[in-house]
């Protein structure tokens, strides 16, 4: 079995996604954390645990843990990298723009590396893998603590 990159860039398993899958950034558990949120996808068992420190209206530090497929793991890794240091309002705005790309066919403008996940939007059954950590983040930003799931479906 070989799991290397294919010679032609794969529209779904882009090299940047595989890189975040193999070498996830911000993986682990912040201690202490202001906000702890769990996200769970009951359909495939993907789990993500976000820990954040929010200080003076900004995401001072964020980490993710849990287990899941390459898409959910890469998405969580890229997300943590992307929101680290952002104000809560900007982080929430990034969540909205990312979800608009995944769920509403919006463009990837100003999303940087996250554009790599756009290919996932074409596979309905996998969209919730990519969106799971983002729903957890939004929950964490809005309500402090809680558990989110993707059970409401891909359009939630």
């Amino acid at each position: 079995m070989a799991a290397g990159p294919s010679p032609v860039e794969d529209e779904l398993y882009r090299e940047i996604i595989l890189d975040h899958w193999r070498n996830p950034r911000r993986k682990g558990h912040l201690e202490p954390a202001d906000v702890t949120v769990e996200g769970y996808n009951p359909l495939c068992g993907d789990e993500v645990l976000l820990t954040m420190r929010v200080r003076e209206g900004s995401v001072e530090a964020i980490a993710f843990d849990g287990h899941g497929c390459s898409i959910s793991r890469a998405s969580a890794s890229m997300m943590c990298e992307g929101v680290d240091g952002l104000s809560v309002a900007d982080a929430a705005d990034l969540v909205r723009r990312f979800k608009a790309m995944m769920l509403e066919g919006a463009g990837a403008e100003d999303l940087g590396d996250l554009e790599a996940l756009q290919g996932v939007a074409r596979i309905p059954l996998r969209i919730k893998c990519a969106v799971l950590p983002w729903n957890a983040l939004l929950e964490g930003l809005e309500r402090g603590e809680g558990t989110v799931t993707t059970e409401e479906g891909p359009l939630s």
């Binding site: 079995m1 070989a2 799991a3 290397g4 990159p5 294919s6 794969d10 779904l12 398993y13 595989l18 495939c44 899941g68 497929c69 390459s70 898409i71 596979i123 996998r126 893998c129």
Partner: protein
């Protein structure tokens, strides 16, 4: 990302079946479909089977020629539809060697098991009674019992598995004692492929005064199943996994149990006499079929029973055993981790495997795309 299959695993399978495999394939119109530029390969029959043209024709003919509501309209079509529906009940009962008075048409096996959990376990068992399940149950044979246990103060206990993925019969024997009142167990696991010793379990359950409910979704389409020989009290399966239409399921229960159980859903067709404050119930099995049933689905499932028995479920089973033996060899060479028994003994055609750290979703996506280009 790509998955490389070792050359040894690519050899073409040459198997002599006891029936004309090509003719059977030709009965399934969907197998003519191309995905990309390749013919469709469908390996998800454990989730739902494809439908042969005989079933599709039966459903279409019903809608074209006989569509009408059942058990009421005093006209030609009403009589025809009622006759088709009741014939379907007899045909499907015969398919599992059962008394048709105990055969209830439902939407799927999940609804069948919910019916038993609600109208039997929740209503007729008492606080402190125990329901025994196993660690290889589908959610449909777990969650309904959790709900019933929660409402009625019942205890749940679980039969564990051996390293090979078979039921630990020592634990089963220990749990099938007082105060167990019901064992709910799958006939063939949809994940592990394990075929459980239902008759032995039924004997153990009955010896302690308990009943046995069997989830037969993965066994009924693939092997001869007789509720008499298995000596079970409840048996559920989904018609759509047995070449029948979507939206059709079956519960069989001993008629005397159905008579003792209160209704599951209320409405038309399940009543005898209706007054404003109370009603009395129709005879079984109609007592458990509230509202307009899916006549087309029942009729289609009867056609599916004819179809499968036309090939012969002994032959189907023997052919599947040969396929499973071959598949297990190939997967062994491919160095993937097969979940469940590694030998095709008391094992069906549902085979799951994992590949190291790669998530099953990624494997499924990659195999699907690699096969379609």
């Amino acid at each position: 990302m790509s998955i490389t299959v070792p050359p040894a695993a690519r050899g073409r399978l040459s198997l002599e079946a006891d029936f004309d495999v090509e003719a059977v394939r030709a009965d399934f119109p969907i197998l003519c479909r191309q995905i990309g530029d390749r013919p469709l390969v469908y390996l998800d029959s454990a989730a739902t089977s494809q439908k042969p043209v005989q079933v599709l024709d039966a459903v279409e003919r019903y809608y074209r020629e006989s569509n009408s509501n059942v058990h009421r309209g005093a006209h030609t079509l009403g009589n025809e539809a009622t006759e088709l529906f009741e014939n379907a009940r007899r045909r499907v009962a015969a398919f599992i060697d059962a008394d048709p008075r105990g055969l209830v048409f439902t939407r799927n096996a999940t609804e069948s098991l919910n019916l038993v959990a609600s109208s039997y376990a929740r209503e007729l068992l008492r606080p402190g009674d125990r329901i025994v399940l196993t660690l290889m149950e589908h959610h449909s044979n777990l969650v309904p019992w959790q709900l019933a246990a929660d409402r009625a103060g019942l205890d749940l206990a679980f039969v564990g598995l051996t390293a090979e993925g078979r039921l630990d019969m020592e634990i089963a024997a220990r749990l099938l004692t007082e105060p167990t009142k019901l064992l709910a167990v799958v006939h063939q696991s949809n994940v592990l492929g394990t075929v459980n010793p239902i008759r032995e379990l039924a004997d153990l359950a009955h010896a302690c005064g308990a009943l046995i409910a069997v989830d037969a979704c993965q066994s009924v389409p693939h092997m001869p199943v007789s509720v008499r020989e298995l000596d079970v009290d409840f048996l559920a399966f989904s018609g759509h996994k047995a070449c029948g239409p979507m939206g059709g399921g079956v519960l069989w229960a001993r008629p005397e149990l159905l008579e003792r159980m209160p209704p599951f859903l209320g409405g038309g067709s399940m009543i005898q006499r209706v007054e404003l404050e109370r009603s009395t119930w129709a005879e079984v099995p109609n007592k458990f079929e509230a509202g307009t049933p899916d006549v087309a689905s029942a009729h289609g499932l009867a056609a599916a029973c004819d179809y499968l028995d036309g090939i012969g479920r002994e032959r189907i089973h023997a052919h599947e055993q040969a396929l499973v033996r071959h598949l297990l060899e190939v997967l062994d060479e491919a160095q993937v981790d097969v979940q469940g028994p590694r030998e095709a003994v008391e094992r069906g055609g549902a085979v799951s495997f994992t590949m190291g750290e790669i998530h099953p979703h990624d494997i499924a996506t990659i195999l699907d795309r690699d096969a379609s280009r």
